[in-house]
């Protein structure tokens, strides 16, 4: 099918985009890579009055450094991420997860910001952003900016802290260089499929002790989640198979995953424990 008719705006700056959103009427949709939005519009599950296409807003695309942070423009495509030298150096967790997203053609169009704003709990990047304590920089009507931490950004199923009239501009994540080990463990059954469950782990070792651990869970509820109990069990623990296995056993604590044709909830909880064990072992260099 083809989408229902809509008015189309193609701004070239963030200010123009905000104006187009403000002027677009009741039901405005921002289009990033269109890799989730166009399919939804083709199925007529969405029929916006106006589409504001960000493809030509050059200032939203690219990765830069700012002190201890990496700043990723919302329109940076998945394939830009996989080619970016700063990501290769300081953003390996993002790269590992991005590599598992969809297929090469979808990665040529789909964007980092679009995947986060879409907030699909089965999407691979939300759990990564949560595990990294990312900061979401949002522009509102008139150009005012605000910053929202990842823990407050993912509100519910396909729902974020973005309000009508707002635009996600960039995402700030801490640089993880020397000393940090990372691993994104994704479980799915067939090519280009979404995660049934996935785990994003990043661990900093000091000698034979785990100094810091951050773990994000994909598709274990209506939003991405942190495996807080596992993180607490790991910090200060010896790097050993026993401690990691014992900690990973708590990965499903407090989760309420859904049951669907791919997996029942209890199987998802089982996967979360197994994948957390694998991801933490790899991240800790075991």
């Amino acid at each position: 099918m083809i989408p229902a008719a809509f008015a189309y705006a193609r701004p070239t700056t963030v200010d123009e985009a905000l104006q187009a959103i403000a002027a677009g009427g009741e039901d405005v949709k921002i289009m990033a890579g269109g890799q989730s939005l166009i399919p939804v519009m083709r199925l007529r599950l969405a029929a916006p009055e106006t589409v504001v296409d960000l493809t030509k807003v050059a200032e939203l695309r690219g990765v830069r450094e700012d002190g201890d942070s990496l700043v990723i423009g919302a329109m940076t495509t998945h394939s830009d991420i996989l080619r970016d030298p700063l990501i290769a150096q300081y953003g390996k967790l993002i790269a590992e997860a991005t590599e598992t997203v969809a297929d090469p053609a979808v990665r040529h169009r789909g964007t980092f910001g679009g995947a986060l704003a879409h907030a699909d709990p089965a999407g691979d990047l939300p759990a990564v952003a949560l595990a990294l304590d990312a900061e979401f920089v949002i522009a509102g009507p008139g150009g005012a900016r605000r910053s929202v931490p990842a823990a407050a950004f993912f509100v519910d199923y396909l729902t974020t802290a973005l309000e009508d009239g707002e635009l996600l501009v960039e995402i700030r994540v801490p640089k993880l260089g020397e000393g940090w080990g990372v691993r994104y463990e994704k479980f799915n059954r067939v090519a280009q499929a979404w995660s049934i469950v996935a785990v994003a782990a990043t661990v900093r070792r000091e000698g034979s002790t785990i100094a810091e651990a951050r773990i994000g869970l994909t598709n274990m509820g209506s939003t991405p989640l942190r495996a807080t109990a596992v993180e607490q069990a790991l910090v200060g623990a010896d790097v050993s198979l026993e401690t990691v296995t014992a900690a990973a056993a708590q990965a499903a604590e407090g989760t309420e995953p859904s049951s669907d044709l791919n997996a029942q909830a209890d199987y998802r909880q089982h996967l979360a424990r197994v994948l957390t064990g694998r991801a933490v072992r790899a991240a800790a260099g075991l």
């Binding site: 166009i38 493809t55 297929d103 053609a105 280009q192």
Partner: protein, 161 residues
């Protein structure tokens, strides 16, 4: 209607399109380039794959207006006159198709893969074309075709260098 200026398979076009027109429908219905096909409604199958400014995209998941100012290459634009592109020739010689419906997209995705990775392993070929589904062949001969084309294309590239 919105005016777009686009180059497709080496020719320039200036056309009015509705913003909701998908690139694949513009190519097929307005330009008559029916070599590019539609195989699904969910952006999964890859049958519609073309190159937009040199990168593979699913043309059912791009708006025609988004191709304004760009260069599009379809399956109809890769042969050199009557001489098949090495990837087309390899699909033909290795029997990389049965019904042939997935083939235009497979070939466009495979050319994109070799551009980024001229000598892929079997595993890398399977990953590289994971966005393209074939209901007939079981992929074995498709992988062989990509291997043959990789060999031929890198030896010609070597000879030119």
């Amino acid at each position: 209607m919105t005016q777009i200026n686009v180059r497709v398979d080496g020719a320039s076009y200036s056309d009015d399109v509705e913003p909701r027109t998908l690139l694949v429908h513009y190519l097929r219905e307005q330009l008559g380039k029916v070599g590019t096909v539609v195989g699904c409604d969910t952006s999964n199958c890859g049958a519609c794959t073309v190159h937009l400014d040199g990168e593979s995209v699913k043309s059912c998941t791009v708006l025609a207006v988004q191709a304004d100012g760009s260069e599009v290459t379809t399956i109809e634009g890769i042969a050199d006159g009557k001489t098949l592109h090495p990837m087309q020739k390899a699909f033909h010689e290795q029997h990389g198709l049965q019904c042939g419906y997935c083939t235009p997209g497979m070939i466009m995705a495979s050319i994109d893969l070799l551009k980024n990775n001229p000598n892929p392993s079997e595993h890398e070929i399977r990953e590289g074309i994971e966005g393209n589904l074939c209901r007939c062949t079981g992929y074995v001969n498709i992988v062989r075709a990509v291997q043959q084309a990789a060999g031929e294309m890198s030896s010609t590239a070597g000879a030119q260098a």
